[in-house]
């Protein structure tokens, strides 16, 4: 009697309020524009976070004014700084989109980290066939890795929250094995792979250090917006996320939506890994993923799960990471304040959500 239902603590249709997609701008109207209220909430969360960071600095005897000025000049104050910010924004934008798609469909993909890694691994292996095959391989690998979780969910009702986290660890150890074993560069001191045989072309002119991946990422967010708000598939995907039980009665094949959303979500995270490899690091090493997968959750939530707003959100977090790096160099303040910022943004947004639900 324990058989099928028992394995899952997330039933096929959790009550709507608990679905990830429902932490949504309720007022949203067909997604043309998210409206000014969600944007205002996002801005308020950002301001609050910056304020809190400045205050934390002040608590340890730093001048908040100096702190902020380093954060700002270090992230957008010069072409060089801006370039650094944009470089960081690219993987954040893609992992953020990955989370947007998944949460919109009501699927808990916490596995961005693992999909990022297998995407990069596949990109490295396929790089000898050229740039495009390499990027395609990254997306395919990310999608496949994520699909393990969705298939386990369909097949045995294994909750994807847990399976995707487990898959992260498997991916991390897989990467560890690759960079220490079969893919290790023979002459290197540290365990790392050979360089990839393809690289993303650079943008010219002012941003000569910037790779084409940024265009791909922006294109991806427009694509995600188009998918979610301009196609029937997107309509069904969102319906499933809002209320999978009602969607079923409206003729939506929610199981197919689950599989599709997870695959697209995984592909985006995989692409992020591929682009990071081919555009920035050129090789893989054990700590390659650096938390981009988890950061994607903060990016997506700040964007209130809107694909176009994700661009702005990713830029903010990219700037925060880059500015925090500068803080560490010049003021000896830990660069981890960027991570702190991500956490504060999420918690503040939860607070807003609560305040809104009370009205």
């Amino acid at each position: 009697m324990k058989a099928p239902r028992s394995a899952g603590f997330q039933p096929a249709a959790p009550p709507p309020s608990r679905r990830p997609g429902s932490r949504d701008n309720r007022r949203q109207d067909a997604g043309v524009a998210a409206g000014w209220k969600p944007a205002l909430r996002g801005a308020a969360a950002v301001l609050f976070t910056i304020l809190l960071l400045a205050l934390s600095g002040a608590a340890f005897g730093h001048s908040p004014r100096e702190l902020l000025s380093i954060l700002i000049t270090g992230s957008v104050g010069s072409t060089f700084a801006l370039q650094g910010t944009l470089l960081k924004s690219v993987p954040l934008l893609l992992t953020g989109l990955s989370v947007v798609i998944a949460f919109r469909a009501g699927v808990w993909n916490i596995g961005g980290e693992g999909q990022f890694i297998v995407g990069a691994l596949a990109a490295l292996l396929a790089s000898r066939f050229g740039l495009v095959p390499s990027l395609l391989a990254a997306m395919l690998a990310g999608a496949a890795w994520a699909s393990i979780a969705s298939l386990m969910r369909l097949w045995r009702n294994a909750p994807e929250v847990l399976t995707t986290i487990l898959l992260n660890f498997i991916a991390i150890h897989l990467l560890g094995w690759c960079v220490n074993g079969p893919l290790r560069e023979r002459t290197a001191m540290y365990p790392q792979t050979d360089v990839a045989l393809a690289t993303l072309p650079r943008l010219g002119g002012l941003f000569s250090g910037l790779h084409m991946g940024i265009l791909l990422a922006v294109l991806a967010s427009v694509g995600a917006w188009w998918l979610l708000y301009r196609t029937n598939e997107g309509l069904r995907l969102r319906a499933t996320g809002f209320n999978s039980s009602a969607a079923k009665w409206a003729g939506v094949n929610v199981r197919a939506q689950l599989v599709r959303a997870m695959a697209i979500s995984g592909a985006a995270a995989g692409l992020a890994g591929g682009i990071e490899l081919l555009g920035v690091t050129n090789r893989l090493f054990e700590r390659f993923a650096a938390g981009y997968g988890y950061s994607g959750i903060a990016v997506a939530l700040l964007a209130q799960l809107h694909p176009l707003a994700t661009i702005g959100s990713a830029f903010f977090f990219g700037a925060l990471v880059t500015g925090a790096g500068e803080l560490q160099r010049t003021a000896n303040i830990s660069a981890a304040v960027a991570t702190l910022g991500q956490a504060v943004v999420i918690l503040v947004l939860i607070g807003f959500e609560y305040a809104r639900s009370r009205r």
């Binding site: 340890f60 916490i110 094995w177 303040i333 702190l340």
Partner: protein
């Protein structure tokens, strides 16, 4: 080959028990919390904060015992934050847990670096003398928890919270808060043990995924205490074996060995390696 394996395992057991002790503490804490119907991804952050506050308290007071108390206090603060969002604001547990982990990594790294300016916090960290934590973690706590969870009215209600909270609706918040407090006690001890016994000080992100491993072990152990202890032993042995294998058997892909427990946990979640039943209201 076979006697090599046997020898490796034999050599690894003492190390495995030590290294898996914080893990076992965390596993028991997460087990209690999950039995009450919550899933606390933030246990990783809880341990990390505890690891830092333990070091700070130990350095300030030059006492290991107070160091452990400091660790527990740190974990308790994290538990209060998590509880406030999840129980009071009814926020999503997964999102909150993720935020807590980011918060812990960010805050501990920031604070620890800042404190390195003062002299007290650069002196060496007192280390644990006689290790009372190992018997506590492997024998005392499991027995106490077994009694509390399965032989008291409190434990009964706590488990009911995890299955159908509507039945005891007015008491759910209280019991879940209690579960978090128990977890804070255990995870706090675990974090303190990491810094005061297993290493000599704090390092950024030093918990290195132990919280997530604990989460996996709770599933691996099918939400039962015996399973949790067995699971910890297996995960701990696999981790300890990696060093032995590294040292004496070159060529064995020990990274893949490390992935095996996770793969097994995945299979358990799919109900392949036996029946599995999560608390019905877990995560809600």
């Amino acid at each position: 080959m076979l006697d090599l394996v046997v020898r490796l395992i034999g050599d690894s057991i003492p190390l495995a028990i030590l290294a898996a002790t914080p893990l076992l503490l965390a596993v028991q804490g997460e087990l209690v919390v999950q039995r009450s119907g919550m899933i606390n991804l933030g246990i990783e952050g809880m341990m990390l904060v505890a690891a830092m506050t333990a070091v700070l308290a130990a350095q300030l007071t030059n006492s290991v015992a107070l160091g452990f108390l400091g660790g527990i206090a740190g974990a308790l603060i994290v538990a209060i934050v998590f509880g406030f969002f999840v129980i009071t604001l009814k926020a999503d547990q997964i999102v909150t847990g993720t935020a807590i982990n980011l918060l812990a990594v960010g805050a501990t790294s920031f604070v620890y670096r800042e404190l390195q300016r003062s002299e007290i916090f650069v002196q060496s960290v007192p280390r644990i003398g006689t290790d009372v934590v190992v018997p506590l973690a492997w024998i005392v706590f499991p027995i106490v928890l077994a009694i509390v969870l399965w032989n008291t009215s409190f434990g009964l209600r706590l488990r009911a919270c995890g299955e159908n909270p509507d039945v005891i609706a007015p008491h759910v918040a209280r019991h879940r808060a209690a579960a978090l407090a128990i977890e804070a006690l255990l995870a706090g001890t675990a974090g303190a043990y990491l810094t005061l016994a297993l290493s000599s000080g704090f390092a950024e992100n030093m918990t290195a995924g132990r919280g997530f491993i604990a989460l996996s072990i709770v599933i691996f152990g099918r939400w039962k205490l015996k399973g949790a202890i067995l699971g910890t032993a297996i995960f701990g042995l696999a981790a300890a074996l990696q060093y032995a294998v590294q040292a004496s058997a070159r060529g064995v892909p020990y990274h893949l060995l490390l992935a095996v427990p996770y793969i097994v946990t995945l299979l358990i979640l799919c109900g392949i390696a036996g029946k599995v039943r999560a608390p019905e209201s877990l995560g809600r």
